[in-house]
Amino acid sequence: MTFRQNNKAPGLKFYAGALFWLALLALIFFNAPKVFLKNITTKAVLFFAPELAGLRASRQNLALLLRIADLEHENELLRKSLGLRPAQTISAKVIFGGGYFFMDAVFINVGNEAGARPGDLVTSEDGVLVGKIVESSSGWSKVLLFGGVGEEAALRLGKEPGAPVGAMGRGGGEFIAELPAGADVEVGDAARFSDLPDYIAGLVDKIAVEEGSKLKRVFIKTPFSPSALYEVRVLLKK
């Protein structure tokens, strides 16, 4: 009787490879692994992020933050006892993102335990609309900044805004819109969201007109720097 001489059992490398391919296929074709991976990576990194923020802050600042939290709680109790509506906004700290590495999204230290829900709008401390919450969990929320790549928005441009124009996000808080060459728009004009006219989407940064073209391209930039965002306010829907 003859036997195969090279009948080796599959090694650790084979199993590691098989596991890798299965994980990759599962990630491509199924949603559950994507959600699972997102959750574990988010939790793992955010586990360290508040620690870094805490290290940066001095003891005095931490004491002040605790005092503010106490006062907010007391204020809420007093409002409730007087039958007043609870505050519609909550302040939050940016704990991650916003730079060149993690662009167009920031994480804030307020989650669904504080009432933040997907769809809630987020503004800077100056009242400039920053973005929208897309995910919220216990202790954190992910905010998608306006002007991301491929984001479509209806904007009203100019000093006396007329009909809304369709604008496309270019990433990093920038939009591009095409207007008729004769449209009364100048550099520095404000662009507002047509469905949120109280908020500025950005300022006209540049206007490009090609010779012979009936359209001009208007470049709009958000008036804040995502990397300089430290504190924001969440506008609660309720």
Binding site: F20, L24, K38, V149, G171, E174
Partner: protein, 102 residues
């Protein structure tokens, strides 16, 4: 022979950005995996040439996806810097595991 020492770090690096980024799913992972596959398969014996080719391919793919998802408009300068900033650390990670001797 597929070199998992490059693919696994690429996969982990890409998935972190997929979790924290704001782009469509695949914007970070797909170009990086393609670049990692290429890096593992390139035949040149000069390490820097293989790394440079993989980086250029990854950058081109990300740029293509950004233009495609951006409705044909060229992305902003910040996005271009972001793409370069995203792919460069991977090369450092990959080069640590990368061995041209086959």
């Amino acid at each position: 022979m597929i070199d998992y020492r490059i693919l696994l770090p690429a996969f982990l690096y890409g998935i972190i950005f997929e979790s924290f980024g704001a782009a469509h799913f695949g914007f970070y992972l797909a170009p990086l995996m393609v670049a990692a596959f290429l890096l593992a398969a390139l035949p040149f014996t000069i390490r820097i040439a293989n790394l440079a080719i993989a980086w250029i391919l990854g950058t081109s793919l990300m740029l293509f996806l950004a233009v495609f998802w951006g409705g044909g408009a060229l992305p902003s300068t910040k996005v271009l810097i972001h793409i370069a900033a995203y792919l460069s650390p991977f090369l450092i990670i990959a080069s640590a595991f990368y061995d041209t001797k086959r």
